[in-house]
């Protein structure tokens, strides 16, 4: 899925994300003395950002609800990888099992059916 955005636009979006991300990083480090603590009203929702964002990135990649039918191999690979992630919390092991399962399903099992 190569983008059809022209190079200057790609650079532009990289730059804008970079500047905003830097502002987030610098915020309290730069302003310490003026602004010492995150207001509780902001801190509570922030606590849920990682889980909510990561899950919203992960699940649609494993489960697709379109007319083209379910991509079974992705569902199975994602499920097995989830068990490994839960047991080991290891990025490398999770990737190895997920990709390994995908390849076994795609190249060995599905063609044999």
């Amino acid at each position: 899925m190569a983008t059809s955005y022209a190079d200057p636009l790609v650079w532009g979006v990289i730059l804008v994300i970079g500047v905003l991300t830097y502002a987030i990083r610098l915020s309290f480090i730069g302003l310490f003395g003026y602004l010492d603590e995150i207001p509780p009203r902001l801190e509570r929702p922030l606590r849920y950002v990682p889980a909510a964002v990561l899950a919203a990135l992960v699940l649609p990649a494993f489960v697709t609800l379109n007319a083209g039918g379910l991509a079974v191999e992705k569902l199975v690979a994602g499920g097995l990888a989830a068990v490994v992630a839960w047991r080991t919390e290891n990025v490398f092991a999770t990737m190895a099992v997920g990709m390994g399962t995908l390849w076994v399903a795609r190249f060995l099992l599905l063609p044999a059916l």
Binding site: M1, S27, A51, A56, L57, P60, V63, A82
Partner: protein, 232 residues
């Protein structure tokens, strides 16, 4: 700068590189898949230097999502660093402004976690030296593995589905993020809504899912607090 503390930072971050290196490779592969060239991919890793947001942005760029959605998604993902910045700021308060500006650029999940643990330890430490040892090592590994990933990503056939490594990396980060009841509710709600909203226009599924997840976590907080005290 204390050389020993710098070296200690480098040593203590080494085991974490096992997780960071494949993540960087995947970021390079994702950049190649999205149609970025080597300069753009490494440029992104240098300018943004935040893996999860880079991967999400690359996915959206590859699908020609509106650039405002790309930016907003990346920023929401990086909002968590607001917490790190606030938490580590008191430890940096005596440093010169220029040093603070540099240290802020290098702030990442791993650099934050290791440094805070070290600052809270009993042993006194040159805080800047230790932090730079950790954070600069991560930075170098991130750039090198991104570049390697671009080369790999352009050479491997599509059928291998290398882009599937992206959600797998996120999955390994998601599990520890769902650390208690309300965060688990946030994850389940965010994921479910994102699946249901995958067909939404402007590729808004991720943002809508994440927003609903955050609200669900906040809503779940109260009854769970009550439950937690029930048995006492």
């Amino acid at each position: 700068m204390d050389r020993e503390d710098f070296a200690r930072g480098v040593r203590e971050v080494a085991p974490l590189l096992l997780g960071v290196a494949p993540f960087g490779l995947v970021a390079g592969i994702a950049a190649a898949n999205a149609g970025l060239d080597l300069t753009q991919a490494v440029g992104m890793s240098v300018i943004v230097f935040a893996g999860a947001s880079q991967l999400a942005a690359l996915d959206l760029i590859g699908r020609d999502a509106p650039l405002s959605v790309v930016v907003l998604t990346a920023v929401v993902i990086n909002l968590r660093m607001l917490m790190y910045s606030a938490s580590i700021a008191p430890h940096f308060r005596t440093f010169a402004t220029r040093l603070k500006a540099g240290l802020a650029y290098l702030l990442t999940d791993q650099a934050y976690a290791l440094s805070i643990a070290s600052y809270r330890g009993e042993r006194s430490v040159d805080r800047a030296a230790y932090y730079i040892g950790v954070a600069l090592t991560l930075w170098v590994v991130w750039q090198v593995t991104t570049a390697a990933g671009v080369v790999l990503g352009t050479g491997v056939p599509d059928a291998w589905g290398l882009e599937f490594a992206v959600p797998l990396v996120f999955l390994a980060l998601l599990v520890p993020a769902m650390e208690d009841g309300p965060t688990t509710v946030a994850g389940l709600a965010g994921g479910t809504i994102a699946v249901a909203g995958a067909g939404l226009p402007l590729n808004l599924g991720l943002l809508v899912g994440a927003s609903v997840g955050i609200v669900a976590g906040l809503v779940a907080e109260r009854p769970m607090e009550v439950n937690a005290t029930d048995g006492h």
